[in-house]
């Protein structure tokens, strides 16, 4: 992987983190997709060697600092999702983008289930159905997000 695509990876992850923690009005906040998870998923599938678990873990840790009730919660959920994506990257990469969106939807559900369980175990249960809304918007935004992230990458990373 070339240095410039490595820079693209880090930059896009940083931007995704900023988008995730950007303060929004409550209504928009509910439908905000988990940008960071989407970015990490994209790089896990398309650059599993450079992206992969380390990026997933540390991005999750940053998310914990910003908004996690317990340190390590998002880190664990994101590591798991990244692991699945890295293992299955060849299968996912070969699929058309609509099917990819469905896979992303499943991955986001897994991510949210892990968060949900940890929230329950650590005594911060949030049972509002609103917490699942972002999995749908995340799947919907996957095709344009993937197009933006792959833009300009003429060579295969």
């Amino acid at each position: 992987m070339s240095p410039e695509s490595r820079a693209r990876l880090l930059l896009s992850t940083l931007v995704a983190l900023l988008l995730t923690v950007l303060p929004l009005p409550p209504l928009l906040d509910v439908v905000r997709p988990a940008f960071l998870v989407l970015a990490v998923l994209y790089w896990s599938v398309n650059a599993p060697r450079t992206g992969g678990l380390a990026i997933g873990f540390f991005a999750g840790l940053m998310l914990d600092v910003f908004q996690g009730p317990v340190l390590g919660e998002h880190a664990l959920a994101l590591s798991l999702v990244t692991y699945i994506a890295v293992r299955e990257h060849q299968r996912i990469r070969s699929k058309p983008v609509i099917q990819q969106a469905l896979i992303v939807f499943a991955a986001l559900i897994v991510y949210e289930v892990v968060l949900f369980m940890i929230d329950g175990w650590t005594g911060h249960p949030v049972t509002s159905p609103l917490r699942w809304v972002h999995t749908v918007t995340g799947a919907l935004i996957w095709p344009p997000a993937a197009a933006i992230l792959s833009y300009g990458a003429g060579h295969r990373v």
Binding site: L17, L18, V21, L22, P23, P25, P26, D29, V30, P48, R49, G52, L53, A54, G56, F57, G60, L61, M62, V65, F66, Q67, P69, V70, L71, G72, E73, A75, L76, S79, L80, T82, Y83, V86, R87, E88, H89, Q90, R91, I118, T122, H124, V126, S128, L130, R131
Partner: protein, 388 residues
Amino acid sequence: MAAFGTGAGRPLSGRGGSPGFRFTLYALLSVIAMYLDQRAHYLEQVRYVLQAAAYPLQLAVNSPPAAWRWLQESMQTREALEAENTRLHAHARDLELRAMRYEALARENGELRGLREALPPVADRWLPAEIVNVQLSSLRQRLLLNRGAVNGVFKGQAVLDDKGLIGQTTHVGPWSAEVILITDAEHAVPVLVARTGLRTIAVGAGDTTSLALPYLPGNADIKSGDLLVSSGLGGVFPEGYPVARVTEVHRDAVQPLAQVRAAPLAHVDTDSEVMLVWFRPGHPAAPAPAAETGGDLGHGNPALQPQTTAPKSHAAPQAAPAPPPPPQSEPSQPLPTQATAAIKATPAQPASAAASAAPAPAPPAPASVQAAPGVPATGAALPGQEQP
């Protein structure tokens, strides 16, 4: 999936082992971190460092709204600024008048309590802090402030605005502090109804406009419009600060508990600045240490009895968080003390032993005897000053 996965994982095991191995490692690390953070709070240092690292990012996130605010402020017309200036001047004058009255009331209150000295204000000092980041979802209601351990901020510190209670600090970094709002679903404030002295607990409901009071029996004396003030139990908030106003009371004959909702008085969604407050530890109105609250619930500390303080709590809260009172109280208190200290010696009561044993605030004691005639005098002077 598993059968296919082993094949796909192999070529990736270049450095640091296979993805499966690395995932196990990271998962283990996360679980250990969660355990330490949750159970023993061993990770305060790690959090401190991470919060410091995250602060620039949070500032960057906040920069577009901050730039927009700055632009709006600099675009204001001269007339708007002048109007605002006039309004603020009038407001400051009102507050100063009220603070004068507050001095007299505090002295009178001290006398009524037989303390032989007016108590200094419970708020020792305060620090304005800017809100850097806001999370107001139904899941989390948090603020990030631009003050941290460097400014002396500590975990579990009370945060107020000019209308009432906002919340308390949960995580403190070197330059920033995270505040959990009283409306967060995980937060509960011990309150009392100012009208009746009824104590209960106000729990956040997950949106900025309402608190729930879930522990009131169906026949509790509470009605819409009642003011809720902090009760001083719980060890974080001192007694007597306004928290919320009751908005709706539902009494269902079938339910043993009344369903009560209250609207917080602080305007978190429009504030851009809040106050971090330090309280005088020895003060009777200061928050009771958490360890002792269990015992206090049963009989109650005489200094915390709601009856004596309920009237004061109406007048004090507006004046206390605003900057004017203490600068005035510091220079103004020694004067009556000097004048009255000599006269004071004669009516010394048996209680004087207890009072002289009281620590620092003893010297600036404005004598209760002399204060009594002084109260109507200052009170009468007020309207006179207002007329011209």
